[in-house]
Amino acid sequence: MNWFTRLFLPAQGSTHAPAVDNLFWFILWLSVFFFVLIAGLVLYFAARYRRKSADDRTPNITHHLGLELAWSIIPLFLCLAIFFWGFKDYMTATVAPLNAMEISLTGEKWIWTFEYPDGMRSIGELYVPVGKPVKLIMQSKDVLHSFFIPGFRIKMDVLPNRYTEQWFQSDVPGEYQVQCTEYCGKGHSTMNAKIVVMNDEEYKDYLENGPKNLRDMPLAELGKLLYSARGCETCHSLDGVKGQGPSWKGIFGQMHKMGDGREMMVDENYIRTSILQPQAMIVQGYEGIMPTYQGLLRDREILALIEFIKSQK
């Protein structure tokens, strides 16, 4: 019967999905019952009482109180039952457990960006551990979007002026499709993301070594990705224009004069120290405003940034 289930609903990926599906199937079979009843009567009457001659006589039946009460009250009670059922599961779906891991999510035309509590960010991919509640705190940078995970049976709009949230817990490792369901223009239908639910071992490995698809990426390319994903670009330009920090154009191998009078050569160790302990050396003419990336970048990512800086001639 799996093919029949799949005809209607995607595979259940969250702890919430079975509750939604149960009500879905209940309404479906109830609808089938009423449709067969009504359509059956319509077709039966149309055949049985088909006009035989223009002089057919019909009985003067105008109403029947009992019948009319029956087909008002029985559906009313069914509807009320469905209301309470749907409401109960809706409340479970909207109130996150207190121990949920919080991840902030930003929607903008036409990408989803996730930010973990430790400052890690990823675009279009969310990695979460299996069996742990995860709460998404969501906002939009521009128009309305809506974060829909069919496998989890949840969906919530993402607004520019306030935070919305939703939560899920998945007990089934795997990849889940995310789609935007609030129309947002040209790229609406490609504003996808995926949620990767990992078992504990994989998740630990991910935390230590980063997403698998980034591991084989050439260093300079990864550095370029990090340059924008980790916010370097807000202060360090690539075209020589002075920003909050020195531009990276042609910086590698230069001699820099520090605020305290020392002269330093921009080499691998200088860059590494600048990333992890930015206050240790401040170039003359700049303020020491850079935050430390200690614990936020993996070793390979620092290497990647160094490689990227080297490539900026």
């Binding site: 359509a39 057919d56 019909t58 559906p75 749907g86 809506s146 369901t181 609406h188």
Partner: protein, 545 residues
């Protein structure tokens, strides 16, 4: 039987006078205050809009045949689906039944000479035309890509002719309000002598309930579009968060009109079915008062369920719960009507002619539309289904399978009255079968892909959904074929001389008591009520209770 088809006085060789040839020339049409002529002008206008909106729909379905770009790009697609929705809602389906068929039939059913305010009626038509021209102008001067719902802040930040389109909706709203005012006054003041409220045909009850919603709800969309324009043009911060506004406020305003508007669309469809089934079953309607009062109940409750469009919008859980609860309440009166229509057929004398085939299609399709609404009223299930193709399928089953099918059925039913000609019955029936199956193939497939997670308003999609999209697209061709056959059947009848008797269906409502087509002033003598609208039984004991 008090049917008084007074023979028309023939003056020499002239054709018998009727409203079509009473005053010659185009100018007499453009300046007419005859509700029948205005109804006919509305009819052709809304059919033109239906054709245009339908061509857009066919283009959308064709593009969706494959997941990739076939012959239009994403921007064009977004404009086309916006225009399809906006044209179908504002230019076709809202005016279709009340302003076209309602205008023609309602005063006749009341035994009146015209509507209460004939000049207002003509003004309403010209306002409609103005709004339509503005909408077409918006299309050709940049187009609109907001969806027919104009959600902010997308609609206040995107390029294109959104301002003009919003103003067009504002203007069209007045046309709708004027029609509503006219019908409310007409039903209250112009009923034939002896015709009490419970002697009204149920079509009149349905149109009356619709008119109440038109008058009370439409001003809200007017105000909303004006606010939208103020924000777009003058940067007044109402909905845009960057200007201190709230985008969700727009959704509240919009649906406060547009949910009742759903009933502006479906109640007239129900009104038509309440005539077609008793007439073509030759049987008294079952549960007259239940149907009449359920129309009024729907009209009233429809004002307090708008939030069920916004379960995922960030509104509070309490609000969501209340709206879900009220939504289930509004389901009941619709269900009651369906049961009453079915019961009307019991022991009837059912003629399976073209209007009745459309009415039976309505019963089956509207039942599916209504039952799938239960899924969407249930909070937890709606969260999954919201803004997927399940919604698209659901509202097409209600709007097209319901209202449009009823409208076409009504057109076949009243066509002999409007043009005095019988159409080819065989081709009419073929059209009904094609439309029924084409419709189901097009839209039933969308339920499956919707509940599987296919979002609406998608230019491209995941490969897994393609078989369903192919089915839907093929269905759209069958549906289009059926509609063209229906149009051809009706148009072909215009080529022959007027041959329709006054009352081809043996109906008991008053519009059939005058000749087909009626004379300019409807009745030779003020008709007097002698029997109820559904007294088909040979020995009606007095009147209905």
């Amino acid at each position: 039987m008090a049917t008084t088809t007074t023979p028309v006085v023939h003056k020499g060789h002239e054709a018998p006078k009727d409203y079509l040839n009473d005053q010659p020339g185009i100018w007499s049409w453009m300046t007419t205050v005859d509700h029948k002529r205005i109804g006919v002008m509305y009819l052709w206008s809304v059919l033109g809009a239906f054709l245009l909106g339908g061509l857009f729909a066919l283009a959308l379905r064709l593009e969706l045949l494959t997941p990739k770009e076939d012959f239009m790009n994403a921007e064009t697609y977004n404009k086309v689906f916006t225009l399809h929705g906006a044209i179908m809602v504002f230019l076709f389906i809202i005016p279709a039944v009340p302003a076209a068929l309602g205008n023609f039939v309602l005063p006749l059913m009341l035994g009146a000479k015209d509507v209460a305010f004939p000049r207002l009626n003509l003004a309403s038509y010209y306002i409609y035309v103005t709004g339509a021209i503005m909408a077409v102008a918006a299309m050709v001067t940049g187009g609109v890509d907001t969806g027919w719902t104009f959600y902010t802040p997308y609609s206040t930040t995107t390029t294109g002719a959104v301002t003009l389109m919003a103003l067009s909706v504002f203007v069209l709203g007045f046309s709708s309000i004027f029609t509503g005012i006219n019908f409310v006054a007409t039903v209250h003041k112009l009923r034939a002598p002896g015709m009490g409220w419970f002697d009204l045909p149920l079509f009149v009850w349905g149109i009356y309930a619709t008119a109440i919603i038109q008058v009370l709800a439409t001003p809200v969309i007017g105000i909303t579009t004006v606010l939208l324009v103020m924000e777009r043009v003058f940067q007044v911060g109402i909905f845009d968060a960057r200007l201190g506004g709230d985008p969700v406020l727009f959704q509240h305003f919009f649906w406060f009109y547009s949910h009742p508007a759903v009933y502006i669309m479906i109640l007239p469809g129900m009104a038509i079915i309440s005539e077609l089934i008793p007439t073509h079953s030759k049987k008294h309607i079952f549960g007259y008062r239940a149907i009449a009062f359920s129309s009024i109940a729907i009209a009233l409750i429809s004002f307090i369920v708008w939030g069920h469009h916004m379960f995922t919008s960030g509104q509070s859980q309490l609000a969501a719960a209340i709206f879900s609860f009220l939504t289930f309440l509004v389901a009941i009166p619709s269900g009651v009507k369906v049961f009453n229509w079915v019961a009307t057929m019991y022991r009837g004398s059912i003629a399976l002619n073209t209007p009745m085939l459309y009415a039976l299609s309505f019963l089956l399709l509207f039942t599916i539309g209504g039952l799938t609404g239960i899924f969407l009223g249930a909070l937890s299930v709606d969260i999954h289904l919201h803004d997927t193709y399940f919604i698209v399928a659901h509202f097409h089953y209600v709007m097209m399978g319901g209202t449009v099918i009823a409208f076409i059925g009504g057109l076949f039913h009243w066509w002999p009255k409007i043009y005095g000609r019988m159409y080819n019955e065989r081709w009419g029936q073929i059209s009904a079968w094609l439309v029924f199956w084409g419709f189901n193939v097009t839209f039933f497939s969308q339920f499956f892909m919707g509940s599987q997670g296919m979002p609406r308003r998608y230019f491209s999609y995941l490969d897994q959904f393609q078989p369903w999209h192919v089915a839907s697209t093929v269905g759209s061709w069958i549906l289009a074929l059926g509609l063209f056959v229906a149009a051809g059947t009706l148009l072909a009848s215009l080529r022959k001389p007027k041959d329709a008797p006054a009352n081809p269906w043996g109906s008991k409502t008053m519009e059939w008591e005058t000749q087909s087509p009626p004379i300019a002033h409807n009745f030779e003598h003020t008709p007097v009520l002698t029997h109820g609208p559904y007294d088909y039984s040979p020995e009606p004991v007095g009147r209905r209770r």
